[in-house]
Symmetry: C2
Subunit: 125 residues, 2 copies
C-alpha cells in the first residue's frame, strides 16, 4: 500500500505537499498511535458488550457493532499521503489526535490540517 504512495504523490497531484522522510516518519507514528487508540477503544467496548450478553439479540447487536467499526476503520484509516492532511484534520477535530503528535510537520501541512479540522468543526456546528 505505502509503496504506491510515492507515485501517487508525484503525479498528477503536483499541488500536493511533498512529505520529507522525517515528516513521513512523524506522520506514520501519529497515524499508528491514533489507529491503535481507536482499536483499543473498540476492543474495550467489545469486551463490555460481550460480558453483558444475555440473549440472542445482544449477540447480533455485537455482530452489527463490529461490522460497522470494521467498515469505519477501513474507510477512515487509509494511509496515503494524498489524503493524510484530511485524515489528520479529521482526527484533530475529533480529538483523536493532538497537535503535539504532529510536531515536526512543516507549516504547509499543518495549515492544511488545521484548515480541514476547522472546516469540519464548522460543518458539524
Amino acid at each position: 500500500m505505502i509503496i504506491s504512495c510515492a507515485t501517487q504523490d508525484s503525479y498528477p497531484y503536483q499541488n500536493e505537499p511533498i512529505w520529507s522522510e522525517t515528516e513521513k516518519a512523524i506522520a506514520r507514528t501519529a497515524f499508528d498511535a491514533a489507529l491503535g487508540r481507536k482499536l483499543q477503544e473498540v476492543i474495550e467496548k467489545t469486551k463490555q458488550m460481550a460480558n453483558a450478553i444475555q440473549r440472542s439479540a445482544d449477540l447480533w447487536d455485537l455482530e452489527h457493532y463490529l461490522t460497522q467499526r470494521r467498515k469505519e476503520i477501513d474507510r477512515k484509516y487509509d494511509y496515503g499521503y494524498s489524503q493524510l492532511t484530511q485524515l489528520f484534520g479529521r482526527l484533530l477535530q475529533e480529538r483523536r489526535l493532538s497537535e503535539q503528535e504532529l510536531r515536526g510537520l512543516r507549516e504547509d501541512k499543518m495549515k492544511l490540517i488545521r484548515t480541514f479540522a476547522k472546516f469540519l468543526a464548522e460543518d458539524v456546528a
Copy 2:
C-alpha cells in the same frame, strides 16, 4: 438433495404427517429447548473469544464467528411443520436433542425423524 421424497414434491403436501395440537406443543417445546441450548453455546463462546481479544485480528475473527453462527441458526432453526421432522432428525443425529424430548409424538413422525437421523449418520460416515 436429501429433501425427503414425496412430501415436498406433492401438492398440497398430502403425504405429510398431520400434527395434532398436543404434538405441536411438544414440538415447539423441543424446538425452543434446542435453539436455546444452541444460543447459550454461542453466547458462551462469544464471551470467551471477547475476553481473549488482544489485537484487531481477534476482533474481526469474532465478527466472522458471529456472522457465521447467525446465518447457520437462521438457516437451520426454521420452525415449519413441513421441515420439522428433518430438523429434529438432524438435531438428534448431532446430539442436540434427545428422543426423550420428543416423547409424545406419534410413531409416524418418530419414524421419519429416526430415518432422517440415520440417513445423516450414514452420510457423515
